[in-house]
């Protein structure tokens, strides 16, 4: 009889735990379904990237089919909950230009901010799925983010020896400077996987055949320095 008295509560607790576990499983959000439902209308989740000028003009939002290679999960979760603009000229600058007196400018009222605004649980599930969308051929572990580097040398490379500053906004100390046709890099260190930054600089057209970022040959050391500098922009 004693054994039965002990067994009964144990069985009851076990049963409750099983039920809780089953309910949790049912309630767990399906990040893949969420992304497909909320994001696929604007973002390409499967690739390939546009290979024609016409296709480039039609792109509504950045490609996400290699999001897991490109982004840091922690940034994704935060951004999906509160999206903020990253590209000051939109996903394709030509779609937002007005010309006045021969001068081009971006018509700010034509820029659209992502309306995801997911709650915490949704953002976690969506980020989990996005992190599975990787480019299998990208080398990982190439960049050691903790590696020490010379900020002045990196800055000189970014602003003088290479034309990065012409298209990207960057922040050096308290000074924000640079062009706007490329993504804003002022907080790129929080957003981007350093290995992807390195790979993107090496061959921009591999990721986006029609990108207006030039492919520029440079040594591993210079590319690594640029990557570390961009990674330090937080």
């Amino acid at each position: 009889m004693r054994i039965r008295w002990i067994e009964a509560p144990a069985a009851l607790i076990g049963g409750v735990l099983l039920m809780v576990s089953a309910i949790a499983e049912v309630a767990a959000l399906d990040g893949k379904a969420l992304i497909e439902e909320r994001c696929a209308a604007c973002h390409d989740l499967t690739g390939p990237a546009p290979a024609t000028f016409e296709g480039l003009l039609k792109r509504k939002a950045p490609d996400l089919f290699y999001a897991g290679s490109k982004f840091k999960r922690s940034w994704l979760v935060g951004w999906l909950r509160n999206p903020t603009p990253i590209r000051p000229s939109g996903v394709m600058f030509l779609n937002h230009i007005v010309v006045e007196g021969g001068k081009d400018r971006i018509a700010a009222d034509t820029l659209k901010t992502c309306q995801a605004n997911l709650d915490r649980e949704e953002a976690e599930a969506a980020a989990d799925h996005l992190m599975t969308l990787v480019d299998a051929s990208m080398k990982t572990g190439v960049i050691d983010p903790a590696k020490k580097f010379s900020t002045p040398k990196g800055r000189r490379l970014f602003t003088k020896q290479l034309p990065c500053i012409a298209c990207h906004t960057a922040k050096f100390g308290k000074r924000t400077m640079g062009g706007i046709s490329g993504p804003d890099l002022t907080k790129a260190g929080k957003r981007l996987n350093p290995d992807w930054v390195y790979a993107r600089i090496a061959d921009p057209q591999y990721w986006d055949p029609m990108t207006w970022m030039p492919k520029i040959e440079m040594s591993h050391r210079k590319r690594e320095l640029l990557t570390l500098l961009i990674g330090s922009m937080e």
């Binding site: 480039l56 600058f93 030509l94 007005v98 012409a166 298209c167």
Partner: protein, 124 residues
């Protein structure tokens, strides 16, 4: 002025057989100019692209419709500048080298396009 207006202006300006945007063809000189050059040199070639008007450039891009300035450069200078960047012409390094992005044929066509924009011939 909207993008469609820009295309009409450009077509009227250069009287070229290529129209921007083209119908699904990548790589025409007009498309390439808009995609790669206009961000700094402007959609109409005035040197007033968005990177310049936003105050992002420490050296102003060349105006491609300035016949006087453009005629000081030979076609070979233009080819070199596009392929190897401003440094190759002792000009601003903010002008990137496009030789690993565009083919030599693309660059040759861009040189012809630039001559139509400036309505000028290059230094011989």
């Amino acid at each position: 002025m909207k993008r469609s207006d820009i295309a009409l202006w450009a077509a009227a300006l250069i009287l070229a057989p290529t129209l921007w945007p083209s119908a699904g063809r990548a790589g025409t000189a007009a498309d390439d100019y808009q995609n790669y050059c206009a961000q700094c040199h402007g959609t109409m070639g005035t040197g007033q692209g968005i990177n310049e008007t936003a105050g992002g450039l420490s050296v102003s891009p060349r105006s491609h419709i300035n016949a006087e300035e453009m005629s000081k450069l030979s076609d070979e200078d233009l080819r070199l500048g596009i392929a190897e960047g401003g440094d190759a012409l002792q000009k601003s390094g903010l002008m990137p080298p496009w030789g690993k992005t565009l083919s030599s044929e693309n660059i040759d066509e861009l040189v012809i396009y630039l001559r139509k924009l400036c309505k000028c011939v290059g230094k011989q």
